[in-house]
């Protein structure tokens, strides 16, 4: 018995083959992008993690373990030959060592040994001041940006009626989002550093970064506010609540998790940008830590070291060789790690939150 011919059987054809190959091209494009990202990431993690891992040292007192790379200030690296061996030492260590050797030689009545050392700036020690500076910059600017941004979003989503002013505001936000970060840097320099005479300072950096990230925060907050159903507002208003009572007790509490998680992406942006802080807040090198100030107000008017700027400095202002590479890759690794951590947190939290909106 023969089966009746199947009119719906798949016919092998050129078109079908073409479809398949075109889809493969798209697939390839996608995975190429991912591979590039993975390559950058992998290279920096592979070569940079060593620096951090080598930095671990045990100490006598609490906390018994520390990391010289993470928790010390940058120093110059000295490379010299001693007793036929190649020795590398940080600035302080080198001086102490040299003095001790010279003293020893003097005691023995021998001529002081000659040290021929090559020095590499920033290549020893660690990046603690940069980490501190970046954290301070992020904290300050996000506080400002969140205050302004959430308030703006509340206005746009809850209060504003569609009119000319709102149109202008939305247009401004859209355009602000497209302004290059270096222009924010120039603006911050012109306004805060020069006009307001704040000099290169934390405060100037905070405001510059806050203005830069403002559109991100506003958009994120608006999205979160929009996710709160209209019924919550109407229900509350129909019970005789004022607008502000409604927003405070029936909108903001439900929007807040969304606002915060989406704003974390803004943190990644603030932490990652170099151009805006180049002339407003960042110092190439600064010995004192930020809390080491005489007056409380000085705290706000001091420049700081920052991770992204430090990467720029160590990758462009010092030569590349085996000694400098460690600090270059190490800094990049730590920085990338911090930013990646923030971004991952944001992405994961947001996906989780989207799943849990159930009203």
């Amino acid at each position: 018995m023969s089966l009746p011919p199947n009119p719906f059987a798949a016919k092998p054809s050129r078109a079908r083959a073409a479809e398949k190959s075109v889809f493969w091209v798209f697939r390839l494009a996608t995975y190429l992008v991912l591979a590039c990202g993975a390559f950058v990431f992998g290279d920096i993690v592979l070569k940079g993690s060593g620096t951090v891992l080598h930095g671990f040292k045990t100490t006598e007192q609490f906390p018994y373990i520390t990391n010289t790379f993470l928790f010390e200030s940058p120093e110059s690296l000295y490379v010299f030959e001693h007793d036929g061996k190649k020795v590398e030492m940080g600035d302080k260590e080198y001086r102490a060592f040299r003095e001790s050797v010279e003293a020893k030689a003097k005691l023995a009545g021998q001529p002081a040994p000659k040290f021929k050392a090559e020095s590499y700036v920033y290549s020893a020690g660690g990046i603690w001041p940069c980490i501190v500076g970046t954290v301070l910059l992020v904290l300050g600017s996000m506080t400002i940006a969140l205050t302004l941004g959430v308030a703006s979003a509340i206005y746009l989503n809850e209060y504003a009626s569609d009119g000319k002013i709102v149109r202008y505001i939305r247009l401004a936000i859209l355009n602000l989002a497209g302004v290059p970060s270096i222009v924010f840097g120039l603006f911050g320099f012109g306004m805060f550093v020069i006009f307001l005479d704040w000099n290169v300072s934390l405060l100037a950096g905070w405001f510059t970064l806050a203005f830069m990230v403002l559109p991100v925060v506003i958009t994120a907050s608006e999205e979160a506010l929009k996710a709160v159903p209209k019924g919550f507002r109407e229900g509350s208003l129909a019970l005789g609540a004022t607008k502000w009572q409604t927003i405070r007790s029936n909108v903001l509490p439900y929007a807040l998790p969304g606002i915060l998680t989406s704003s974390i992406l803004g943190i990644a942006r603030v932490a990652g940008e170099t151009a805006p802080i180049m002339f407003t807040a960042a110092y190439v090198v600064r010995d004192k830590l930020p809390w080491d100030v005489d007056k409380f107000s000085d705290f706000f008017f001091q420049g700081v070291m920052a991770l992204p700027y430090h990467i720029y400095v160590v990758s462009s202002k010092i030569p590349q060789n085996e000694y400098t590479e460690r600090v270059q890759y190490g800094t990049a690794f730590v920085f990338l790690g911090i930013v990646a951590l923030i971004a991952t947190t944001s992405i994961v939290l947001r996906n989780k939150l989207r799943g849990s909106y159930k009203w």
Partner: protein, 277 residues
């Protein structure tokens, strides 16, 4: 708060006159005069004249977009919140007070004219918090008083027995019908005079609908209820008077029985007999 002189249901079943719009025996609570209402430049209500009775159930019926919800939302000025919505002519008065008089406060008005929405919208708070929300925003924080109101309101909404053991669970954990009754309870907790219901049963199954309708019968002893509904059976079952709207105009307003049995207007007849809408 017992009503002493509530007339028997459907007792007034004979049209007193040929005029469609006739005040019943109950006293008039709400007066709407010559109301023209616009969304931006689009007119939504045309010259509405209506007198609604105190402590009666009035149903607004009509096809979608006929303006019945708009009129309902005028009564507690929820339309203030919509951009471009405005009254161009005419007035709304409750107990003789013009709702748009300068010294009238929309917030105060809404405390006295409550509203239940089409889609039940309990807040994602506990049942207890839901009920007490209206009082708390008025500054009432006395625990004993709140407890008392919660029980009274839930009993009033015929929900007490079902939820009395889980007052601190989320309002969202209730079933659809229970959620809607919770919203009603929430509304009566602030002791309004009028309760506006905007298609309160359209998202409910028949059993839940029956419960809400039963509740409406109970509530009208204390409250004036205005209900917008799509379901003509519902209007027939639970209202004393019915107003039929079409294309933003009030076509006919009369005792419910008259509207359904003996409508004075051919359009009304076509609608109630299911020929359009």
């Amino acid at each position: 708060m017992e009503t002493s002189a509530a007339p028997a249901k459907f007792s007034v079943n004979v049209p007193a006159s040929s005029s469609a719009i006739t005040p019943g025996t109950a006293s008039t609570l709400i007066e709407i005069e010559n109301l023209d209402f616009y969304y931006d430049s689009k007119q939504a209500l045309f010259d509405i004249n209506l007198k609604l009775d105190d402590r009666r159930v009035t149903a607004f019926i009509g096809p979608s977009g006929c303006g019945k919800s708009t009129l309902l939302r005028c009564l507690n000025r929820m339309n203030d919140l919509i951009d471009g919505a405005h009254i161009k002519r005419g007035s709304l008065k409750i107990r003789g007070v013009d709702l748009h008089r300068k010294d009238v406060d929309a917030i105060e008005l809404r405390k006295r004219v409550g509203m239940v929405f089409q889609k039940s919208n309990p807040f994602p708070k506990s049942i207890y918090e839901n009920i007490t929300y209206g009082l708390r925003i008025q500054g009432v924080n006395n625990k004993a008083r709140l407890d008392e109101v919660v029980e009274k309101s839930l009993r009033g909404a015929a929900l007490w027995d079902e939820v009395k053991d889980r007052l601190h669970e989320s309002g969202l954990s209730l079933s659809g019908g229970q959620q809607q009754r919770l919203c009603i309870a929430r509304t009566i907790a602030v002791e309004p005079e009028v309760i506006l219901m905007d298609e309160p049963c359209s998202a409910l199954d028949p059993i839940a609908t029956a419960k809400v309708e039963e509740l409406i019968h109970e509530l009208k002893k204390q409250f004036t209820i205005i209900i917008v509904t799509h379901s003509m059976q519902q209007a027939a079952r639970c209202s004393d008077k019915t107003a039929f709207f079409y294309m933003g105009k009030l076509i006919e307003y009369d005792d419910t029985r008259t509207i359904f049995m003996n409508p004075g207007n051919p359009q009304t007849e076509a609608y109630v007999s299911g020929r359009f809408g």
